[in-house]
């Protein structure tokens, strides 16, 4: 058998297939009642909370609670979705054979990861629509200045780059999908509690504030508040400022760390994939009592 000539760039070809793969999975997700339920349920909780407290004034500003809490919650929801979404998909697809299938195909892993990036990036669109549409119908004074939408876009892009790799890294290292709750969900919930999403971060002890400010969730929330709220409201924040430069640096640093570490962890995960691992996961999943 002769060595076959390989045309120009199979890698680029695989990336293109991966983009199509991601789009296909995104459309499947939109059509899936399971995912629709998730988007609507989280939006219902968020908007419901804002609605119940729509007449609560926020101290130090002339704004009502929804104007402050909506951007915070939006930041929190995005961070949650972008970490837990990919963590679950990778953990599950390690077990159901999707990843192994990609490994058995030439440049299939390139396509697989390209698809994952497209799928999880686009999933923020339905998430945002589900929260923003009812909010803008129900509440006033949400967006102080239309130029804030520009800020929303760059905060989103940076937030995506900062959080998505974290989710993929968690998915790469968890031993099985049932452990995502412990390794992913729990820390993210704790962070949501201390990152100034539901009440001002200044209300917490100093050391808790420091921990919260290490992680991207706080900065996503802060960036969103800076986008939606008037500049005069910055007095509610640490240092009476939106700290735009710090937001860019903090999210940017996570993006760099993610871009450096995630590929190595994903390669390690892919190298370890084998059929007997998939078979063992199947056995383990049906064996609840151990």
């Amino acid at each position: 058998m002769t060595v076959q000539p390989v045309p120009s760039s199979p890698v680029l070809h695989a990336v293109r297939l991966g983009l199509r793969r991601g789009w296909t999975e995104f459309v499947q997700s939109l059509r899936s009642s399971q995912d629709q339920w998730f988007y609507l349920f989280t939006a219902f909780l968020a908007v419901g909370y804002l609605y119940l407290r729509r007449d609560t004034p926020v101290e130090g500003t002339d704004l009502m609670l929804p104007s402050v809490a909506l951007p915070s919650i939006l930041g929190g929801l995005l961070a949650f979705g972008l970490v837990i979404g990919p963590a679950y998909s990778l953990a599950m697809e390690k077990e159901d054979g999707t990843l192994l299938r990609a490994k058995a195909v030439p440049h299939g892993l390139v396509g697989y990861f390209a698809g994952q990036l497209v799928l999880h990036s686009s999933s923020i669109v339905p998430q945002m629509v589900a929260v923003l549409v009812p909010s803008f119908l129900l509440f006033d004074d949400l967006m102080a200045d239309p130029s804030g939408w520009f800020t929303v876009v760059w905060v989103l892009v940076l937030g995506l780059l900062a959080t998505l790799p974290i989710g993929m890294m968690i998915g790469a290292v968890v031993p099985n999908a049932q452990k995502v709750g412990m390794w992913g969900m729990l820390p993210v919930m704790v962070l949501a509690g201390i990152s100034g999403i539901f009440y001002p971060i200044q209300a917490l002890w100093g050391w808790v504030q420091v921990i919260a400010q290490i992680f991207p969730m706080y900065w996503l929330g802060l960036g969103m508040r800076s986008a939606f709220m008037p500049d005069s409201a910055a007095t509610v924040e640490i240092g009476d400022s939106w700290r735009t430069l710090e937001t860019v640096l903090a999210l940017g640093a996570w993006a760099v760390v993610g871009a450096l570490v995630a590929p190595a962890l994903l390669r390690r995960m892919a190298r370890r994939q084998s059929g007997s691992q998939v078979a063992a996961a199947r056995e383990a999943a049906t064996q609840w009592v151990k």
């Binding site: 058998m1 060595v3 076959q4 000539p5 390989v6 045309p7 120009s8 199979p10 070809h13 695989a14 297939l17 199509r20 793969r21 296909t24 999975e25 499947q28 997700s29 899936s32 697809e93 159901d96 054979g97 999707t98 192994l100 299938r101 490994k103 058995a104 195909v105 030439p106 440049h107 299939g108 396509g111 994939q273 084998s274 059929g275 007997s276 998939v278 078979a279 199947r282």
Partner: protein
């Protein structure tokens, strides 16, 4: 191959020639899946020399991947996809590796027809029965028109008709596409039908390597002779069927009717070999099998 301090594969030496269909048999836990995973490049080996399509599967190129196909024991992937979109997607990765004498991938419609899934092409995969799912797995394994195909228990859960159709697919691949096939199975009848050559793995060693026919001939199992005489049914087991039949016919002549002679099958040979191995005589069993003829 070694797990912890236990060597699980110690004497696995074999060669598979292009275009051959080889069946790897052995009891559960004998190391069939481990062997096949090492060859697929999915698992590191602790020692030994392996060459598959001229490359060490430990460090294979993507071009090598394009020339091989894999069907594993348990897939549950892509439940939300339909066979058509999934085969289009998976097949797409093989397109850069297409050559004039081996066009890749196999067109989706043709492939759906080969595995009998044309009617289900637009259905969600999560709704499939076990056998339908398995046929889709086979389709994905061969979508790149592989030169070498690995099949790990491909017909587990098939009904007899699906099994026969699958055998047609394998024959087709071997005859028309010159595909080399390495398969594992627990179905000895299947091994007998499909394989040009049978390897039996027991206790981490290849204890037999021959055609199914030769293995059956070598089995030290009696031949069974059945006949009727004067409305009565007789059964006799003998080592030397020819001599026995001559005596039988000399004695009773035309009175012997419904004569039936059953040689040892691959199943007999296999069971005997595995039994010997399990009785702790694997070395002896291997010796007998390699030296009898």
């Amino acid at each position: 191959m070694r797990y912890g301090d236990k060597d699980v594969l110690t004497g696995v030496d074999f060669v598979i020639h292009p275009g051959e269909v080889v069946c790897l048999l052995g009891p559960n836990g004998a190391g069939k899946t481990t062997t096949i995973e090492i060859l697929e490049g999915f698992r590191e080996r602790s020692a030994g020399d392996v060459r598959v399509l001229g490359q060490d599967p430990r460090r294979v190129s993507e071009a090598w991947r394009a020339r091989t196909g894999v069907v594993l024991q348990s897939w549950r992937d892509h439940p939300r996809w339909t066979p058509r979109t999934l085969l289009d997607q998976i097949g797409g990765y093989y397109a850069p590796y297409s050559t004039p004498d081996r066009t890749r991938p196999i067109p989706t419609d043709e492939l759906l027809d080969v595995v009998g899934l044309t009617e289900l092409a637009e259905q969600k995969i999560s709704t499939f029965s076990g056998g339908q799912r398995r046929r889709l797995d086979v389709a994905m394994g061969i979508v790149g028109r592989p030169e070498l195909l690995f099949l790990d228990e491909p017909t587990a859960g098939f009904d007899p008709q699906a099994r026969r159709e699958f055998h047609h697919v394998v024959h087709r691949l071997a005859d028309l596409e010159r595909t080399t096939v390495l398969l594992t199975t627990h179905d000895l009848d299947e091994a007998e039908k499909l394989a040009d050559r049978v390897l039996i793995l027991a206790g981490g060693r290849i204890v037999a390597d021959d055609t199914a026919e030769q293995l059956a001939l070598r089995a030290a199992v009696d031949v069974e002779v059945k006949w009727s005489r004067d409305g009565e049914r007789f059964v006799h087991a003998t080592q030397d069927a020819t001599a026995f039949l001559r005596r039988l016919l000399d004695e009773h002549g035309d009175a012997v009717v419904d004569l039936e002679v059953r040689r040892a099958s691959l199943e007999d040979a296999y069971l005997e070999l595995v039994q010997r191995h399990e009785a702790g005589q694997s070395d002896e069993a291997a010796r007998v099998f390699t030296e009898v003829l």
